[in-house]
């Protein structure tokens, strides 16, 4: 017993100093990860793709000019109205018979899109357009799709589309992930995200 009591204890007083030193180093060198953003897929090489013809009514033309002004179908529009315009275009569902859209709630006008599966949003920008404006427009267009997808997911499965996507990524989700993936795919098929930045020609 006596020998054990005599065992010298290591002085841990400087431990805090060492830890502080390391802490300050990491504090200074830290950059919290900011790898997030809007993902896009570029169209393949120019000469690989034969020109595709799309009916004019299925194209939603969004244009950004050199003064950062937003033009939708040739008309000047403010950024706040873009989302609503995109939604009413995508959700129009004016097609008949084979192209009819059973879940669309739009006005079924004959000048707007046949079916969300056919509808394409064409985004053109001038060389002088600001990147920030461009991203704002991209963001609004994506949010139009998200809103429509949310609505359909709510109707079919009683959950928001965004929640479904979060669940798919989450490790704590205890439902059937294969089924969830299937559902997400189904919703995505109902409103496929078609934002084209390719050059379009009017016929």
């Amino acid at each position: 017993m006596k020998t054990r009591r005599l065992a010298p204890s290591v002085n841990a007083g400087s431990m805090a100093d060492i830890a502080f030193l390391l802490l300050i180093f990491f504090l200074v060198s830290t950059t919290i990860a900011t790898d997030q953003g809007i993902s896009r897929k570029l169209p393949p090489k120019l000469n690989d793709t034969p020109p595709i013809t799309i009916r004019e009514r299925n194209i939603f033309r969004v244009e950004l000019n050199q003064l950062n002004e937003l033009l939708v179908e040739g008309e000047l529009v403010s950024l706040e109205d873009l989302k609503d315009k995109a939604i009413s275009f995508l959700d129009n569902g004016g097609g008949v018979s084979g192209e009819a859209c059973s879940y669309c709630r739009g006005s079924k006008g004959i000048t707007s899109s046949d079916n969300p599966k056919k509808a394409v949003i064409s985004l053109q920008s001038s060389r002088e357009t600001n990147y920030e404006t461009y991203i704002a427009v991209q963001d609004q267009l994506v949010s139009a799709y998200t809103e429509l997808r949310n609505r359909e997911a709510m109707r079919l499965y009683g959950v928001l589309f965004t929640t479904m996507e979060e669940n798919l990524k989450s490790v704590h989700y205890d439902g059937d992930k294969a089924k969830l993936r299937e559902r997400i795919k189904h919703i995505q098929m109902m409103y496929p995200e078609k934002i084209s930045e390719a050059e379009t020609k009017m016929e």
């Binding site: 830890a19 950059t31 990860a33 900011t34 953003g37 809007i38 950062n68 001038s126 990147y131 963001d139």
Partner: protein
């Protein structure tokens, strides 16, 4: 009563600092885990635009970074420039850069590589479109416009 009197006599004990290292270590571990060493030293201004509809990129080793912006105050120039790794680059340098990045990755992950465009918000679209054209030519079609979470309404002047 005598019990209480006894206590009053005792001088205030010093606060033990024995748990201080533990607290500091806790913080230390947090920062060690959260830290990502920045590989590239930025030579261009890089204030990212804001957006709401964003996706997080999970795997950092699958990301190829292209920085675009006007040169920071240490360097000359006000036009938008491209930075690859840690030097300024010209438009023609993008193709070899992407190809060498792809070649340095394992075969299994090659189809999942994403090019992250970290573009300063004041950049003109002309340059961005040129970069996208270069990327299309080397079949690096998956891109991500790096943004900060936030409302877009203040993006338009």
């Amino acid at each position: 009563m005598s019990k209480f009197r006894k206590k009053q006599k005792v001088a205030l004990p010093e606060i033990s600092t024995a748990s201080l290292p533990d607290i500091v270590f806790m913080l230390l571990f947090f920062f060690m885990v959260a830290t990502i060493m920045r590989k590239d030293i930025l030579m261009v201004e890089n204030k990212l635009p804001m957006a709401d509809q964003i996706e997080k990129l999970e795997k950092r080793d699958l990301i190829m970074n292209i920085y675009v912006g006007k040169p920071s105050s240490r360097y000359l120039g006000t036009e938008g420039r491209i930075q690859l790794n840690d030097k300024f680059a010209k438009l023609e340098d993008i193709k070899p850069f992407i190809l060498s990045e792809i070649a340095s990755k394992r075969d299994g992950v090659k189809p999942f590589l994403i090019t992250s465009l970290k573009v300063d918000k004041k950049t003109k679209m002309g340059l961005v479109n040129d970069i996208k054209k270069e990327l299309r030519e080397v079949d690096a079609l998956k891109i991500n416009y790096a943004t900060i979470q936030g409302g877009t309404t203040n993006n338009i002047p």
